[in-house]
């Protein structure tokens, strides 16, 4: 995951300031940056949530 994010931020530098507050999700669960991605995995960037009321 760490590697994938580095590539992403390299391609889209505008993401960089947000990464510290961004959580990661794989298969609809939160995951650590140390997680290993498999072929075809969809990595989701989750900005700080603000649901509820």
């Amino acid at each position: 995951v760490t590697q994938a994010l580095a590539t992403l931020v390299c391609q889209y530098p505008m993401l960089e300031p947000y990464m510290a507050n961004t959580r990661l999700s794989l298969h609809m669960d939160f995951v650590d940056p140390e997680t290993t991605l498999a072929e075809g995995d969809e990595l989701v960037l989750i900005p700080p949530v603000s649901g509820g009321a």
Partner: protein, 136 residues
């Protein structure tokens, strides 16, 4: 029941989902769109969600709450899309044999929702400005 919907929420409907004859209490949290953010007038809100994951997280929180407290059924419905002042954004209903567990479980569930469910709120102010709410 754990859902994300664009339809207006009905407190009575969510209440009816959880109530059983063995329960002596139903505690409901009805989250309402407030007309201001720290005193600045708010015109309306928009909620967006990663809906599939949000429903999964709501269900996980529901299971966690049932493990932690002596309650019966729990239901959580989150509304998304445009919401006007005074409308309900989330309704949580917790039924339990006794009231204390229901009160505690309901408050705990709401705290977990705020921390873990991928839903985002954007406030549109009366003066025309807008911003995404960032609670971190």
């Amino acid at each position: 029941m754990f859902r994300v919907t664009t339809e207006p929420l009905s407190v009575q409907q969510v209440n009816d989902l959880v109530k059983r004859p063995t329960d002596g209490a139903v505690v409901i949290f009805d989250g309402i769109v407030r007309n201001n953010f720290d005193g600045r007038p708010v015109h309306y809100l928009e909620y967006e969600a990663y809906a599939a994951m949000a429903e999964k997280k709501l269900a996980e929180i529901g299971a966690e709450v049932q493990q932690k407290f002596a309650i019966g059924e729990i239901a959580m419905i989150h509304r998304i899309g445009r919401l006007d002042i005074g409308e309900s954004s989330i309704v949580i209903a917790v039924a339990a044999p006794h009231r204390h567990a229901a009160f505690e479980a309901c408050a705990y569930a709401m705290d977990r929702v705020k921390a873990e469910v991928p839903v985002w709120k954007k406030e549109f102010f009366a003066d025309g400005a807008d911003h995404w709410v960032n609670q971190n």
